[in-house]
Point group: D2
Chain length 364, copies 4
């Protein structure tokens, strides 16, 4: 339990001095979907300067020349990656693919700027586990230990002081938030968990593939990555640390024919006597002080969080079957990636946690 707080009181927002003034920020890998979403959100952030925005493939071009939606809002020039060294940066977001991010950390270290890494490279707490699931030897295992897992609702204090934050995966964010109140209050059997997740296509990245070709996805729906998706060990590791016991989950992702959004439905067996009110109260209490987790009283929908950093969360208990069902909805690119990364940045830079992230979802 050194890493994650297991107590609701400890979890709650401990006081700290808010630091005023603008900070200098870099985004490395700004042309993928998570990079693009970082730019979208950071242009609205009042407390930062978007100082350096890099791209391996498009350095030298105006950002809005690549993504015309940004014209008039963010027309900065993309720089080569190594220009992070030429600027006085407080924090750098890494929005690069898995297996590439760790090389950046290895090369640049943590002395010059703090890092929020949106890839999976520093999420697993062991280089062996990493190698097993990411099929590559970890290039800088020495940083794994100090990387804080960037889920503020569970790990706020460590994030605040970390130099390296491993921003959670999109499926793990929705899954962990949907299960933590149950596990941390010892309400369920940690071996009974089933996670049936459904994600929009942006989760698969911006590179065209057979599986993301429009006619293959439109009007379609299917499961993928059964038994062996990389987010399985990530979910299990975090939930195990949280409960100080081994948690094993059955995780099945599905591909939704939409652009953004994850809906995660979990099933588990209570380990104590429960009823619907108790379950609901456990969630309300657990997330009482959390701005971005909204415990709702109807099954949530992904469009109610589209474009926003909210996680809408529903929990119920089926007396007939003696099972708990929880459902979480997030925007995979915001709370599942860029928004959460900024939430982490706010904590690290002593800004108000929700700064730059309070927008109504785009619905309809």
């Amino acid at each position: 339990m050194s890493e994650l707080e297991n107590n609701i009181n400890e979890r709650s927002f401990s006081n700290y001095e808010i630091e005023h003034g603008k900070r200098n920020i870099g985004v490395v890998g700004a042309t993928g979907y998570t990079g693009m979403e970082l730019i979208r959100l950071l242009t609205q952030h009042p407390d930062i300067n978007l100082e350096v925005v890099t791209s391996r493939s498009s350095a030298g071009k105006k950002y809005s020349a690549i993504y015309p939606s940004f014209e008039g809002i963010f027309d900065n020039e993309l720089l080569p990656v190594d220009s992070v060294s030429d600027h006085d940066l407080d924090l750098v977001f890494l929005a690069m693919p898995h297996r590439v991010s760790m090389d950046f950390v290895k090369d640049y270290g943590l002395e010059n700027f703090r890092i929020v890494d949106l890839s999976g490279d520093f999420r697993l707490k062991s280089a062996d586990l990493y190698e097993q699931w990411y099929e590559k030897k970890h290039s800088c295992p020495q940083y794994i230990e100090q990387a804080a897992y960037g889920l503020p609702e569970l790990n706020r204090d460590r994030i605040r002081n970390a130099d390296l934050v491993a921003n959670p995966g999109c499926y793990p964010t929705s899954s962990i938030l949907a299960l933590a109140p149950l596990l941390m209050n010892s309400l369920i059997d940690p071996g009974s968990i089933i996670i049936d997740s459904k994600s929009g296509v942006t989760g698969a990245g911006s590179t065209p593939k057979e599986t993301t070709h429009f006619p293959n996805v439109f009007g379609n729906f299917s499961a993928y990555g059964l038994l062996n998706h990389r987010h399985t060990p990530e979910i299990e590791q975090i939930l195990s640390i949280v409960t100080e016991q081994e948690v094993q989950v059955q995780f099945t992702p599905h591909l939704l024919p939409i652009d953004r959004g994850i809906l995660t439905t979990t099933y588990s067996r209570p380990s104590v006597d429960l009823n619907q009110d108790l379950v609901r109260e456990a969630f309300l209490l657990f997330y009482e002080t959390e701005y971005f987790v909204r415990v709702v009283d109807q099954p949530p929908s992904v469009k109610n969080v589209r474009g926003s950093n909210y996680c809408d969360l529903y929990a119920t208990y089926d007396e007939r079957t003696n099972r708990i069902i929880t459902i979480a909805a997030i925007d995979n690119l915001v709370k599942g990636a860029a928004g959460q990364a900024i939430q982490n940045m706010n904590l690290m830079l002593r800004k108000i946690e929700k700064t730059g992230l309070v927008y109504p979802p785009l619905n309809p």
Copy 2:
């Protein structure tokens, strides 16, 4: 076990004399989605005359005047419901809403023509259970007993001789087909079943509603009917009869932003030692002689069955978690409704079972 065969050999297609010649068919309630799909498929059926097609609201109009997609293919006039009495019909499909179908059966009986009822009115084997889940007193409980549950893969012989067939619900079709091989071979714990289902919007019918308004569904995804969907008792009843023991399922439907298709993911605990090969073989063997169930070796997708009567079925075993996962894909309007109804009709009229139903799915 009087109703459903519990033995694979018994299930298999017993020989019968094929009867030649055209039979006269009626469709009552032809303007809803299942009625429309019946017409679409029946116009291609070589062994029938589509003699009477009725509509309460549109009697007197040409079918293609209401649905222009049928122009040049089916331009017959819609008749009032009671015109079924004026024709010499061999079989009538009821494509009316729940709670309305039973009145038709009460009024017209089974003496003049056999009936395939696509509503839920004769699926549950007790009038009390019906009243509890459909919130209306059953109007002709005397017919419930003799109604055969119209899932040919499990109940072929009874269907063949039935005068009244209760065509299965769309979710139950996919769920039962995905679980029957496990339960009928006693491979799983009957209390461990979780069914996470996802359906396209045509499953909600042709009447515009808040929940099916385009901007509310497009780009969206959510669960609904948690804990209390009507298909729960239907699934449990059939699976219980099949296994001669009480089967309880956790059934959670979700609304997919597509027009057609259901994907059902099931989770269960083995009750015996298993491995992936054994599970897969159990499915291959169970459905060996079934034309419309295709046991596939990759997770299925709904577009691979779009517009067709196939059920694509995948089964695997997760050694790590000791769970069985099965996934079924059907077109809710075909194998989940009209196609299966025609499959039942073929059995009842001594036609080759797949007549009029062998078309490649519309993909892409």
Copy 3:
């Protein structure tokens, strides 16, 4: 030409004193799509208090109880319409249906607060024309004359001083912006204009209908309202005033299977010698000082403006056929409705015109 400036210099942003301080705003009819979008945008506006938000059908309920996407952002209670009288309001948005808005104006007048009406009730400059196209006698024709047409790019000065602004229709906004530079510079034959427009489904409102039932729209596309859509006289009237001559347009709307967005393609015949550079320059010059009109150098797409107040505009000339083609993309709920209404409010209240409206589009 009294109403609209026909000269680029006159159009340009004349200086005025920015007035500081918060102003009190009301939204009447907040539960339709344009009302919802007004709330979404106004919650982000730094210079206003959202004092009164009304709903005929849902008065007494919390806004976020009806639209859960707003939970934690806008939880105010919906009030009955007449509560606008109980508050000291500077400006009221009317987001009610056509034919209803005018009664509000008649009942409440313009003495107590200024009004931006998002319906079509004050767009047409004659009560007779209104009656002809809206099939109802106008209930307060005395206000028609003073209503300023709320397209800031063409009518900024009048809007600023108006007590009643008729916010443009979504199709007219895209059509007029796509044609004004050509007509106001006398580059095209005013009788040669064809407008082929395509709109997302939110343009049809939030009430479920046959034509907006998900399965009827999904995977579908069609034209509607040929020859007689109400936006035809609106487009013609404004373009005629602009050019001081009769402009006649062929306007054909189509329904896109998406939630938001309009793409308008126009065709016209040059009346002078042209080439591609001249056409493009005319647009660049015309919109040089306009923040919300982005003249782009590739055909625009609706997703590049999703959720934003931008109008992306492309213009080209086909030498082979001697025709000009222009294409405009807007979000029908923002620049086509609520965003433009706020742009008008900013002008009326002496705020910086783009305040509260500078967000990157939600793409992907």
Copy 4:
């Protein structure tokens, strides 16, 4: 006028002896979208043997191993292209990319089997024009002359006797059918034609690209290929031959966020006095004997023809503006490609023209 009949009487279905018996067919390039659609339709054709089905990349594999939707329907092995020589084939469909098809014709000639080429290689009547628009020198210009343009409604007699049929493009099919009655009856000014077309994404082929990546298309809409799309010369050429005068069209394609379907809206100026009835009658008369063209009395929609060989066609006249508007809806993969190819095959092999093509569209 040697190629296309300019007279309605001549166009009509001249009598010919229907030839009975099965014919042997090959499909070269069966794994692209048009190839897949050919297989889908040909498996339902009663008069042919699908003898050879080839693929460059997947030879040796079962067809259903590549496309699981075909399991149980078409499990044949894919052969290398040159196996067309090993079989006694009556007709071969070429479903290969532009610029590749012509090499097949050059290599195999027309002595051993007749060919329906679904690519653009033999549509343009001049090798120079081909080179200009397809940016490659034509590899066998000697066959261009004898290639019949495969639009049965306009060119039935030539198709019947041709050894090489150039199957029309999808946009040209919808455009030409929508304009031919006007031009062939000299009702419109041949220089006034504007064609605003919208196509589903399968029209762009099965290879994943940036422009067809799901998140780039979903919720999006845009124009492309302005001024220079390859279908422009194809449309102009055919319409010019039809009218024995130069026809020039303004053709603008757009990309619809759906999988299948084209909707084409045309605008033109009458050259004679007209009214709505006259226009509609001209279309009804022109297509009176055409089974696959349905002249409808409401604007058509693409879902009403989904999966079918129909072209739904609407024509109207706007008295106010003195313009004719026509709208055509087809399934780009059926009437716009594979279905029309089979219609051509039926003519060539003296089968009833609609054999194997009479299915209701898949709607909803």
